[in-house]
Amino acid sequence: MTLFLAGILTLLAAGVFQAATPRPARIACFALLAVAGLLLAGAGAMTTLMNGAESVLFAFPFPLETVTLELDALSAFFVLVISFGGIAGTIYGAGYLGGYPDRPLRGHLFAFALFILSMLLVVTAREVLPFLFAWELMSLSSLVLVFFDRRNDEVRDATVNYFVAMHVAFALILTGFLLFMTRSGSGEFSSFAAATADGPFAETALLILFAGFAIKAGFIPFHSWLPKAHPAAPSHVSGLMSGVMIKTGIYGILRFTLIVGVPTTRLALIVLALALLSAVVGVLYALAQHDLKRLLAYHSVENIGIIGIGIGLAMLGLRIGNGPLILLGMAGALLHVLNHALFKGLLFYGAGAVYRAAHTRDIEKLGGLIGKMPATAALFILGSVAISGLPPLNGFISEFVLYLAMFAGAPLAAGAFGAVVVLTAGSLALTGILALYCFTKACGIVFLGTPRSDAADRAHDPGGAMLAGMALLALAILAVGLLPAPFFAAVATVAATFPFPGDAAAQAAPIVATLGTVSRVLVLFLSLFAFLYYMRSRLLARNGGVAADATWGCGYRHATARMQYTASSYVSPLMALTGRLLGLHTHLERPQGLFPARTAFRSHPHDLVDAYLIAPGAKLIRYLFSLLRWVQSGDMAQYILYGVLFLAAALAWIMGGT
């Protein structure tokens, strides 16, 4: 705990001291202190994971009175994720911000420090007021970070949208807390368990609370802000928001599940259903995108869905007393929290490097970058394989644990619950293969083939700090993928803090052994690959080597970059099936006459939640407020009348009181 507090203070110092440092050294000063602070905080969390929970109590005058910061297994795990993501983000950001030498960045760096700091506080706070304070600090500081490119209209819209969404979330969470407090009579989270005596009441309160957290996490249909805010933010911020910040929503859901104990069946099924919806629809929306960062943002929705599947299964398991579902579902979800932080950070940073080099996020204008920016391309492909859940990388490990949960848990679940679990397995498989489709598109169109624009042709790899930030994440991805056993053992200890029937450690042990076998098979696969590649190169050398020529074009040898397949055409077979469900607008100008001069095809993905939920909702609110517009007439006499009326009413109230 001391280490953790020292880390928080160092982080705060990083935010303050950089402002006093002259501009040339400002970023470096900030990055050094921030990384040091995060290392300290991470070390603190690590010792907690090994030694057990610790807490520290501060006494304050009214209204905070006491503030308790506690590191238990769950908090420590999230602190580790935040610290590691924060370190990579800070290093990458130091390089990324180097591209803005004419901006002072004082405010930006200060907000960046506050942002990471507030996330650390959110996952360690144990009372309502400090939690809400940290939560709001997190929203506001990230708002400042999103609003970096303030001259851009799109960024301004996204910022406003984000601002509103975060405060709707805040209102919901506040309502949930207040409901709990009416029963518990205290702002301490641990006292909330008292409300469970009244089942339906606790369920309603939890639902409201979870809705608030779901907005932050980005579950469909609460995701509207996410695909707007993430592309608008500068890439070092997008990576942190997507990889780390939205996980605080997941943390909230887990924390209150842990406190309240066994959830109702309905609640578990609602969480599971929303998770499945988010996973499948999130990736379908991602497939339709042309904007690289927006595509990645929709994948965050998908991955939050996968995490939610684990949580939903675990909640169902808690309800029906199903050991594998609780332990493996929760462990899979937590592992995916970590994994998503790693690969989504890497992918956003890669997209940032591409944007930096080619000045566009439009996939259709990129291409052939693998020759121009080989390091970024290799890292992005690695991240893509990981996010598609494919071996031998980390995404596979968490999905593997989730499948194990379902395969081992289904036979123990009675009646229809077994079928629910199997259907969930099918949906997870669908999500996985759709992610594969989407990321072959992203890698293939952005990095492979030939450049589709001059800007893409002139692209080059970013500098050392940006690559270092990405490489750090790539190493972690490989570590979790190839040596999964210790990582699983760690999340299993966190999962075991949930009310588990039987001995959790005894149930986790065979899975640790299984993961050991998995990593041996993966090593076998890699050796086989190395052997085959060696054989192939030897054979080719012996058979007369490799001749270079043009790509086969039915005998046509002058193919241009514009003749390549595009991202839209690559996904068009799928869009023909699902486009209408997704609100995909297409526009086709057919070729006319014998010598057609022009033809055109355009497609615009529209988010149905935006079109049918958010837009009408906003219209309704605007209409309702327009009914009150007469209050603000601008007429001075009217305002004086308000004053007089108020005074009269106050007078009447006081006199009535006495």
Binding site: P391, F396, F407, V422, I433, L436, G449, T514, R536
Partner: protein, 305 residues
């Protein structure tokens, strides 16, 4: 041990023999004599002795993809149930690793096709990806259903059905049909794809490997044949009796595989290829079959709670 060695031996020959049987049956149905049964194997040996012409557009992705795809497919096949349902490697959840390794192979084959910058290859890749999107969930649904009933989590045990009863009959029927459809789809056979077409625009799998040559092409074709063989293995694991003694089991497995190939050959001789826009409708059959199996399993487990 003997079973493992047989499994590995079968991996080397049976996939080619299946291809040979298919083309022999098609030849016979067309009134021709047809090439030797092991012709696909000789073709591969010939390809291994050839050089390659590689597009200037391609990168390292194109270079590593064939070896990576073959390595992933071979490793996946080591996890599959073979003679007497014995797996060379087995552990809890091995089926997930097996199918996801095939996914890895697919990932690299798709981006290797896009690496050439050819519109033909992009087209083939897009179609292949869509077909996988439809068939992949059906496999997991079916495997999940088997797990739901058997309580097993390992490949071989998962496919060990009870000797008699209504549920094993339903599972064997739906499963055999499902795997046969998957074999045709993943093996790129008629009515989904036509391995013998000569027009780039109508190819799917073939067009993705247009620019591959020499050993790389050999690797990709072997990987494709292995994938087809995997579905024959799954069919065998589902339908062969549990209490088969080792010797008949060693003969039963190739028999089932060649029977599957013969059936595919008969289908190819009788059926025309579907219009590409109709293939997804056909593939939804696999999802339907898996859902039927799931519904049946819930019914036979004692109804809906």
């Amino acid at each position: 041990m003997v079973a493992h060695m047989l499994n590995i031996l079968f991996l080397l020959f049976l996939p080619f023999l299946m291809l040979g049987v298919m083309s022999r049956i098609k030849a016979l149905a067309g009134g021709r004599k047809g090439p030797p049964l092991l012709q696909p194997f000789f073709d591969m040996l010939k390809l291994l002795r050839k050089g390659a012409v590689v597009s200037r557009v391609t990168s390292w992705v194109f270079t590593v993809a064939p070896s990576l795809a073959l390595a992933a497919t071979l490793t996946a096949l080591l996890l599959a149930p073979g003679v007497g349902r014995a797996q060379v490697i087995s552990f809890d959840g091995d089926i997930v690793l097996c199918l996801y390794l095939l996914g890895l192979a697919k990932f690299f084959q798709l981006i290797s096709a896009l690496d050439t910058g050819s519109a033909f290859e992009g087209m083939g890749a897009g179609r292949e990806a869509l077909f996988s999107v439809i068939v992949e969930p059906s496999l997991f649904l079916f495997a999940g259903t088997l797990a739901l009933v058997s309580g097993a989590t390992s490949f071989g045990a998962l496919f060990t059905l009870a000797q008699s009863g209504a549920w094993p009959a339903v599972a064997a029927t739906t499963g055999t049909l499902l795997f046969f459809l998957l074999m045709l789809t993943e093996g790129c056979r008629i009515p989904v794809d036509d391995p013998n077409t000569h027009l780039e625009l109508t190819m799917i799998h073939e067009v993705m490997i247009l620019d591959n040559a020499g050993p790389d092409l050999a690797f990709l074709q072997y990987a494709a044949a292995l994938k087809m063989y995997l579905f024959a293995l799954l069919t065998a694991a589902l339908v062969l009796p549990v209490d088969l003694s080792p010797l008949p089991a060693a003969f039963a497995l190739p028999a089932v595989a060649l029977l599957c190939a013969a059936l595919a050959g008969i289908v190819e001789s009788l059926v025309a290829r579907f219009r590409i826009s109709h293939v997804p409708q056909f593939l939804f059959l696999t999802v339907a079959l898996a859902l039927i199996a799931l519904a049946a399993s819930v019914y036979f487990r004692g109804g809906v709670a």
